[in-house]
Amino acid sequence: MPRRNVVRKIRDQARQVERGVVGGGKPSLRFPVRSLANVRYDPAKGHFTMKRGTKERTLTVGTVKTFAQTLRMMALSKALVESDDIATKREAYYVSKNWGDARFREQPESDAVMDDVEALFAVNREQLGFIPEEKGGDVAGRLVVVDRDPDSGRRLRIDCTKFGSGAYSVPISVEHLEFETEAAFILAIETAGMFQRLVKHNYWKTADCILVSMGGVPTRACRRFIRRLADEKKLPVYVFVDGDPYGITNIYRTLKVGSGNAAHLNEYFCVPQARFLGITPQDVTDYDLPTHPLKEVDVKRAKDALKNDPFIGHYKQWQRALETMIKMGVRAEQQALAKHGLNYVIDTYLPQKLSRPERFLP
């Protein structure tokens, strides 16, 4: 969205509030509801789409504080966009310290208001001038990323095979990147530890792939990077995470279909072609993996997903997998494969799995 549009949207919204106030009424802002309850899984598009649920925040005595904070956040955003500047979420939080009584006490408060504003205008927060602090993820393998030098605008070819035991770091904004690759697939990995092992042993050479470390739930930049890469180069994406409810319903689900929190952006920040390589509950039995008992939060998370997650609700296979996991009462980490030898994962597990990609969970 062009900058002019963002500024115009902010002004329109503010004008509406101003008129409401001066007219002696109580103006209100209408936000889309940001929760899993307000999204549906669209199998054709392959991601969560927002339903019509909205909530109205009317300016009353009880809401006057958040209302004031929302308006000030909008004013800050407008100033950032107009001056072509950016502020991290943390910086925005510190800017609020000038707002006297309306200042935020903790950053989560300011993040929530920022998410509100983002949803209010149905834009990406980067378009509002706010950027996250988070890392985009690490990449290694058969890939050349083409970036631009910030000063000269010259093309920079970044060869991801040439980082040795290190890795290429995904930038916060990836829209301008171009890709050159001959790899067969992308392997998205949950933990930095497993990523390190595969990099050290040059697994990408053996398997002819691109390795991406997500470091937990993938950030928007990471999701967008994988998505663009996979789309442009027509690559399959395989996801390798822990065999627990968090790995499945949070990490994998968010990567594949997006989140309930920023549903208006899921269209861009999801990877519908992702497939679940492991660790599956079946792997626990097949590979005789050491396990830990499911914690109470794990069980709650799994049951909650079975009941409320539209994505899980759409796939019988996932429901069976989660039910099996609850029944087994155990979880298994990626590193559990080390029981059979440190490089068992490279020599045996991954090759065996990758020989039958059609058996991956959706």
């Binding site: 109580k26 009353t60 909008m74």
Partner: protein, 645 residues
């Protein structure tokens, strides 16, 4: 005093001889021979305390009904005392050898023999030296009441110099109030505590009472155990008092100075000034000086006592005691000049005297075995039927017959020959018979309005509530509870614990708060439901003063120090009901206050955020400052009007 102790310890029934019929039930706990160690100790203190209280009230007697009512008993007592001296040694031997279960005869003779038990105590250690009974007898002699108290001054409230000053003022003020009320005069009292030297003070208490007739003054101020009021059953002060004579004695002991009394009984009589000392051995007054003086007061009494003392402020000080007295006596006009010369005035806020309390006979439900026996043996009635009707309230011919039928006793039996087992039967008969509650005109409540007026006079607060309950009965004794509270008390913080003022028959109780039924009732009341904070087992928190008053012809104190009321279930229940009534009113007030606080909070809340809405809109839309102010004003107005929070 010592005399009594002997009789009680060895032959408890004998105790009753000195007790009034109405009082015996409370103190003379069931006879149990010498084994009743507790009674031995408690008995004399109580008796002494009450006796002294009565002595102080002799003043009234002098004015209104000079010694009429009690003449007979006094004579008997004096007679008994005469006998004592002569036969002390003999009786002691007799008592010493007497079997633990004495016959009625022995009881009678020992009753006239005070020295016996007293002497028994020091004998024990010496016995090992092989002294003969005759040797011992030479050391055994009567200890006079005054001597006893000289050595046990703590029993009288003179434990330490601080308390001594307070007790002295207290006794004098209680006396003045009783005298004024009995004479139908609205009391005007002036109290002065003057410092003479370090640790020496002069307490001066002056009232506008009826004055005291000349012949009575020495006895009232120079003789312990002189009085009449404790023979009757009606509400009066002085329950914890020892009497003005004890205060005078304390002053004499510590400073050697006599009590100075100035009194005038009317405009036609001249004012007389007495200097009275007490002969502590003989318990007799010594008048060291008496003369006519010019005194502008038409009628009244002025008492001056010089004593060794320490003056303190704060809790349990004279200041505190007088302030509380002013609360419980709204009809009193009180002036206090403290040792620094500062004057505090508590004006009169109620222009009427409290209703006069009538004396009543004891109720059968409150009588105990020993008391019943004593009453019967003293009775002039010819038969039990008449005895019951004469000695007890609410017993008419029909009730008397019913009691006797249920007791399986003959109505025509002679009360003077009542045996112990027959008395037990009689008690059982009383218990089985339904008898009307005792009359309540022996009570003189303060009244809800008057109590509130009294509280307002002394405590500055936002809210007051007061309740006066209807009379109730415990163990045959009528009593009545009143409660009041003040909320938003100036000088108290919101998280302070409430201050509790306790009163018995209008007299402030200042010690042993923890042991008192009033305290228990306050702790046991659910103040949280009235909007107050209350930790478990603690007083409620808040700028709160709670006041509880119990009025009764016989207030059941937990001990002879008369500072805490016993927790009879009936009494606890009445106090709680009174407190709950006050609490509910306070709760309504607090809730109303909370609404106002919330409204103010709402205003502040709005006021702190609306400017930010104005500022943000101005920034986004590039508005003028005027427009910004307009937005702020309109929005403030809109939100102020909205009830929704």
């Amino acid at each position: 005093m010592a005399a009594k102790r002997v009789r009680e310890s060895v032959f408890p029934e004998g105790t009753l001889e000195l007790f009034a019929p109405g009082e015996a039930p409370q103190d003379a706990a069931p006879a149990g021979g010498g084994a009743q160690a507790e009674t031995v100790l408690a008995g004399p203190r109580k008796a002494g305390a009450r006796a002294a209280g009565a002595a102080s009230r002799g003043k009234k007697t002098a004015v209104k009904k000079p010694a009429r009512k009690t003449a007979a008993k006094k004579d008997a007592k004096q007679a008994a005392e005469k006998v004592k001296g002569k036969t002390a040694g003999k009786a002691a031997r007799k008592a010493g050898r007497a079997a633990p279960e004495p016959t009625a005869d022995a009881a009678v003779s020992a009753a006239a023999e005070p020295g016996a038990g007293e002497a028994a105590a020091p004998r024990r250690p010496k016995k090992r030296n092989g002294q003969s009974a005759e040797q011992l007898a030479r050391e055994q002699r009567e200890i006079s009441i005054s001597e006893f108290f000289t050595k046990n001054r703590h029993l009288l409230g003179f434990d330490n110099p601080t308390k001594a000053l307070l007790t002295t003022v207290k006794e004098a003020v209680d006396n003045s109030l009783d005298a004024c009320e009995d004479a139908g005069v609205l009391p005007v009292i002036r109290v002065e505590a003057r410092q003479i030297a370090e640790n020496r003070y002069k307490a001066v208490i002056e009232d506008n009472g009826p004055g005291i007739v000349r012949t009575q003054i020495p006895k009232i101020f120079g003789k312990l155990l002189y009085g009449s009021k404790f023979h009757t059953l009606k509400q009066s002060r002085g329950q914890q008092g020892i009497g003005i004579s004890a205060a005078g004695m304390y002053g004499q002991l510590t400073t050697g100075k006599p009590v100075v009394v100035t009194s005038r009984t009317g405009s036609r009589a001249a004012a007389r000034r007495f200097e009275v000392k007490i002969n502590t051995r003989k318990n007799e007054p010594i008048v060291t000086d008496e003369r006519e003086v010019d005194w502008p007061v038409e009628h009244g009494t002025r008492v001056e006592i010089e004593l060794e003392a320490i003056h303190k402020r704060g809790k349990r000080s004279i200041d505190d005691y007088l302030a509380q007295t002013a609360i419980a006596n709204p009809h009193l006009e009180l002036t206090y000049v403290d040792p620094g010369g500062d004057e505090v005035r508590y004006p009169r806020v109620v222009e009427e005297l409290p209703a006069e309390a009538r004396a009543i006979k004891p109720h059968p439900y409150g009588v105990e075995l020993g008391a019943l026996l004593a009453l019967a043996h003293e009775s002039r009635s010819r038969n039990l039927r008449g005895f019951l009707q004469d000695e007890f309230s609410r017993v008419g011919p029909r009730v008397a017959d019913e009691i006797l039928a249920k007791a399986m006793l003959s109505p025509s039996a002679r009360p003077r020959q009542l045996k112990r087992d027959q008395a037990e039967q009689l008690l059982a008969g009383i218990t089985k018979t339904k008898i009307m509650n005792p009359p309540t005109n022996c009570l003189s409540p303060i009244g809800a309005e008057e109590l509130e007026a009294g509280l307002r006079k002394v405590v500055a607060a936002d809210f007051f509530a007061a309740v006066s309950r209807r009379p109730a009965v415990y163990r045959g004794n009528p009593f009545l509870v009143e409660a009041a509270l003040a909320w938003g008390v100036a000088g108290m913080a919101g998280d302070d614990l409430a201050v509790l003022h306790r009163f018995a028959n209008r007299v402030p109780l200042q010690y042993q708060q923890g042991a008192c039924a009033m305290t228990k009732a306050v702790l046991g009341t659910g103040w949280k439901s009235y909007g107050l904070g209350q930790a478990k087992g603690a007083l409620p928190a808040g700028p709160l003063v709670v006041l509880v008053h119990i009025a009764s012809a016989w207030v059941p104190f937990t001990s002879e120090s008369k500072e805490a009321v016993a927790a009879y279930p009936e009494i606890l229940k009445e106090i709680k009901l009174a407190l709950q009534d006050c609490g509910r009113r306070l709760g309504r007030h607090i809730r109303r206050g909370k609404r106002e606080v919330e409204a103010a909070k709402k205003h502040d809340y709005i006021a702190s955020y609306i400017p930010h809405i104005g500022a943000a809109l101005r920034e986004i839309l590039g508005l003028s400052e005027k427009r910004e102010q307009q937005i702020i004003a309109t929005l403030t107005d809109t939100l102020e009007r909205s009830r929704k929070f």
